[in-house]
């Protein structure tokens, strides 16, 4: 760990001043939660699915997206992963006025020459230079782009040693500091051992009936953990660290400290194989405690088709729940954390029954209405484009689901949330950030073979809020893995700074707290991954607060 770190504090302070305080209002959500501002914002990206009659599985698994403030101007930018070989990823710079400019060509991060199929994306400052870097996964070699700080990126994959195998199908990925040495390591989920020259026919042998295969006919592939050596290179420590389980068919990855022991654990959603919960032993190794924790299967003990995943304290007991989106005709699963790292599938009890028919992919727990608790958003879309031939009650394109948290129980607000959320899409990646810095969390969603959608948060009766831009000194530069305890108006929110969740996607690195009617946070406790901690008192609401780790 070394290198200069730019503070960005001045910029953030300016933004905080510029943002008008939103009035504290009654709790609840408006009828229309989001406005589709894609066109208005100048986002013209259309995902290239590369669909062929051969129905290669990766054609339907889509690609992700990421929020990344690559130019550190305080306005988060948008990186969109494309799919088919020869298609380019896109980098859109946030101009700060609600519009974006396509800066892909100049950035050098388009990956147009990649001859595989691009899938996921991670954002993190792996070299601690204060600039967020990009890691793109693929069916084929993965790519690490180092942010040069001048609007351009350099492909440093070969030097860093993080390409993975040439024919590996990598999916969700993320940076985190598992060994708490101050620099960010890299976790890469891998899906199945798929070979282009062994692509079986699935579905009925009738014209138009060939369908994408399900993963049961392929073997899983072990995930990878790359340890950051602090000199621009990484070492593959998967086996040594205990995460190289060839049984996995990983699609979703989330990092969080499920047992609140101070280090970051890893939860992996596998497709039709039990999920893994890798508890961090604190000594550079992990152990999969899914059986003990009760998070491998659904309530009936069956493995599900896990897709997207997130982690967050939805019931306010200080311990994070785990949430997994699953296949059509499986419930999305909410695992309630009782506090002793033992979980219970409470999906039905928690009010998530409406997720049974749709096929869920990207997801995020976030406070859509700033009332102080975590709501839930799921983007849906089937994997079989001709599914209607088999099940007329299902569709390839499906609307999103948005649930409002009402004291740990969720109420489906999708139908009442206006036409934007009801617009069917083949939803895959979903990532959350306050792109216009107005205190409401906005959402970007990728869709297979279709345009990406940017949804601006319109929730009219939003509460107050606070965003935290962590600046690590001993810890990683963006404070990923930091735990924040916010006391406001008699309530306590325990949150982690973590941009890794959902499906193939990466969220803003800033932490967002909804505060409801509270106009200030009375006490803000910050526990950095380094073990250092600090307390801020009487922090006014409605600002983006830069917090620097004490030396």
């Amino acid at each position: 760990m070394s290198l200069a770190r730019r503070s960005g504090g001045a910029v953030l302070a300016a933004i905080a001043g510029a943002v008008a305080s939103l009035p504290a209002t009654e709790q609840g959500v408006s009828q229309v939660l989001f406005e589709d501002v894609t066109a208005k914002a100048g986002i013209t990206f259309v995902h290239a699915a590369g669909a062929t009659p051969d129905k290669y599985m990766f054609e339907t698994f889509g690609s992700g997206l990421a929020w990344i403030d690559f130019d550190d101007d305080g306005f988060v930018d948008l990186y969109l992963v494309n799919g088919a070989p020869g298609s380019a990823n896109a980098l859109y710079r946030n101009k700060g006025d609600g519009t974006f400019a396509d800066v892909t060509a100049r950035s050098g991060a388009g990956a147009k020459d990649h001859n595989g199929y691009k899938t996921g994306v991670a954002v993190g400052d792996y070299d601690n230079d204060g600039r967020l870097d990009l890691y793109v996964t693929a069916y084929g070699p993965n790519i690490l782009y180092r942010n040069n700080g001048d609007g351009t990126f350099t492909d440093v994959t070969a030097r860093a040693g993080v390409a993975g195998r040439a024919r590996e199908w990598s999916t969700s990925t993320g940076f985190f500091d598992y060994d708490r040495d101050g620099d960010l390591d890299l976790y890469v989920a891998n899906y199945v051992d798929f070979r282009m020259d062994d692509n079986p026919w699935c579905g009925l042998r009738k014209p138009g009936h060939r369908m994408y295969c399900n993963p049961t006919i392929f073997d899983g592939v072990a995930d990878r953990l790359f340890r950051n050596e602090g000199n621009g290179t990484f070492t593959d420590v998967s086996a040594r660290a205990g995460i190289a389980n060839p049984a996995g068919k990983g699609l979703g990855v989330v990092f969080c400290d499920v047992d609140r022991d101070g280090d970051t654990d890893v939860y992996v959603a596998n497709d039709l194989v039990r999920n893994f919960l890798y508890r961090n032993n604190g000594d550079g190794t992990f152990v999969d405690v899914a059986y003990a924790a009760g998070v491998g299967f659904d309530a009936n003990g069956k493995p599900q088709a896990g897709m997207g995943v997130d982690c967050g304290d939805v019931d306010g007991n200080g311990f994070p729940e785990l949430f997994v989106t699953n296949f059509s005709e499986e419930l999305n699963t909410l695992y309630e954390n009782s506090g002793d790292a033992v979980f219970q599938d409470v999906s039905e009890k928690a009010g998530l029954g409406s997720g049974f028919l749709p096929l869920g992919f990207g997801t995020k727990m976030y406070d859509v209405d700033n009332d102080g608790d975590l709501d839930l958003h799921v983007t849906n879309g089937h994997v079989i484009d001709n599914v209607k031939l088999y099940q007329p009650n299902l569709a390839y394109e499906q609307p999103d689901l948005v649930y409002e948290n009402t004291g740990g129980r969720f109420v489906d607000r999708s139908a009442a949330s206006g036409p934007t959320l009801q617009a069917p899409r083949v939803g895959r990646g979903l990532a959350v950030a306050d792109f216009d810095n107005d205190g409401g969390l906005d959402v970007a969603i990728s869709s297979v073979g279709r345009r990406t959608t940017l949804l601006r948060n319109l929730a009219a009766r939003r509460g107050n809020w606070l965003q935290i831009r962590a600046q690590g000194t001993a810890s990683n530069a963006f404070g990923l893995g930091t735990t924040v305890r916010a006391h406001a108006s008699g309530t306590l929110q325990v949150r982690e700074i973590n941009n890794v969740a959902s499906y193939l996607s990466s969220n803003d690195t800033r932490l967002h707290l909804g505060l409801g009617a509270a106009s200030r946070v009375e006490r803000l406790e910050i526990l950095w991954p380094s073990g250092r901690s600090q307390v801020l008192e009487n922090v006014p609401a409605n600002q983006i607060l830069a917090v620097k780790e004490p030396q």
């Binding site: 049961t216 049984a247 899914a290 099940q391």
Partner: protein, 354 residues
């Protein structure tokens, strides 16, 4: 409907899928004993594992109970290779295609934790064969054979994997080698019979399969194999007898279609049609790729029966259905062309019955 859709996504051909492996427990017992002599986990867990293993390999195993117990063992020690292996075996024993993927996952994890766990590899190969993934089964069995040279159960399974990948001659060699080591090994004899059948050596196949049927092991598969061999050898009465026994033991569609064929060849067309009626799927089964693997056989047989009845329009319709499922079905193309020619001729001669 999830199960339906999952099954529909399985690859074709799936005919091999129906070849259920025989005599699992007896074949595995020696290897299980070997696994138990491996370095022991904590004593209590070892005892629990032994109990689960004994139950799983008993004549009346309770896989559901074993799964619960193994999950609770893995909650204590998630890296216990033997527990993952037994869990894989228990999933397979449950017999649900949905759980085969989970069985593969557990068995691969067991092998990853302890590569010397030959029983895990052997079971994994069996699951791959269940899933019609014979090439992967062969890969695992080739490794297993290096670890357990000359073991009849490995030789026999490898032989079957070879047969399913089109190498029946090699299968004959391997299964004969297995029988040399253990002449009473019914599974090897069954696979040998199938391989001889593939090679067109009907007399040899019938001899082996009659021995298997006489042993009483897995009558559904044994009589299905034997009935098929009789059919190929044009011993129609014997075929009807054997296939009726197979259908009695397991009245699955594949068996009924073959029985229908035997009845047709005997001229008992009403009996043949009755078998086809019984072989038809329920509304939901009809959409599955698993069923589709026999569906074209069903329509083909129906066409041939209608042809024999002189009902040319109905025959043409049946052959067209076969071609709707598989446009490259040569026999159906041939029959349809013939039927259409006859229909055309019939239209030229008014008054002639079609």
């Amino acid at each position: 409907m999830l199960s339906l859709l999952s099954a529909a996504m399985l690859p074709l051909p799936l005919r091999q899928f129906a070849i259920v492996l025989m005599c699992v427990a007896p074949a595995l017992q020696p290897a299980w004993a070997a696994a138990q002599s491996a370095p022991a986990p904590a004593t209590e867990l070892q005892e629990r594992l032994k109990r689960v293993g004994a139950d799983l390999f008993s004549p009346r195993p309770n896989p559901a109970r074993a799964i619960d117990e193994l999950k609770s063992i893995l909650a204590v020690d998630p890296d216990l290779a033997e527990a993952h292996m037994l869990l894989g075996i228990a999933y397979r024993a449950q017999g649900s295609p949905e759980l085969l993927s989970e069985a593969v996952a557990e068995l691969r994890q067991a092998i990853s934790l302890k590569p010397s766990l030959a029983l895990a590899r052997l079971t994994l190969a069996r699951v791959y064969l269940d899933m019609a993934r014979a090439s992967r089964a062969r890969e695992e069995l080739e490794i297993a054979l290096e670890e357990l040279p000359g073991r009849p159960e490995v030789l026999s399974l490898l032989g079957e994997a070879e047969r399913q990948t089109g190498n029946a001659k090699r299968s004959v060699e391997l299964n004969r080698e297995a029988l040399k080591a253990d002449p009473g090994f019914v599974q090897a004899r069954y696979y040998l019979g199938l391989a001889l059948l593939d090679l067109g050596q009907h007399a040899g196949a019938i001899r082996e399969l009659e021995a298997v049927a006489a042993s009483g092991a897995n009558p559904a598969e044994a009589y299905l194999g034997l009935g098929t061999a009789y059919l190929e050898a044009k011993r129609i009465d014997d075929a009807i007898g054997a296939l009726a026994k197979a259908a009695q033991a397991d009245p699955k569609a594949d068996t009924r279609i073959r029985l229908a064929r035997a009845y047709r060849l005997k001229g008992r067309l009403n009996d043949a049609l009755q078998q086809l009626q019984l072989a038809r799927p329920s509304a939901t089964e009809g959409l599955s790729a698993l069923y589709q693997s026999v569906e074209s056989d069903l329509y083909m047989e129906e066409g041939l029966i209608r042809l024999q009845q002189g009902r040319l329009e109905a025959a043409a319709e049946a052959f067209q259905k076969v071609l709707g499922l598989n446009a490259d079905h040569e026999a159906a193309k041939r029959q349809l062309a013939e039927v259409q020619k006859r229909l055309k001729d019939a239209r030229k001669k008014p008054g002639e019955s079609s």
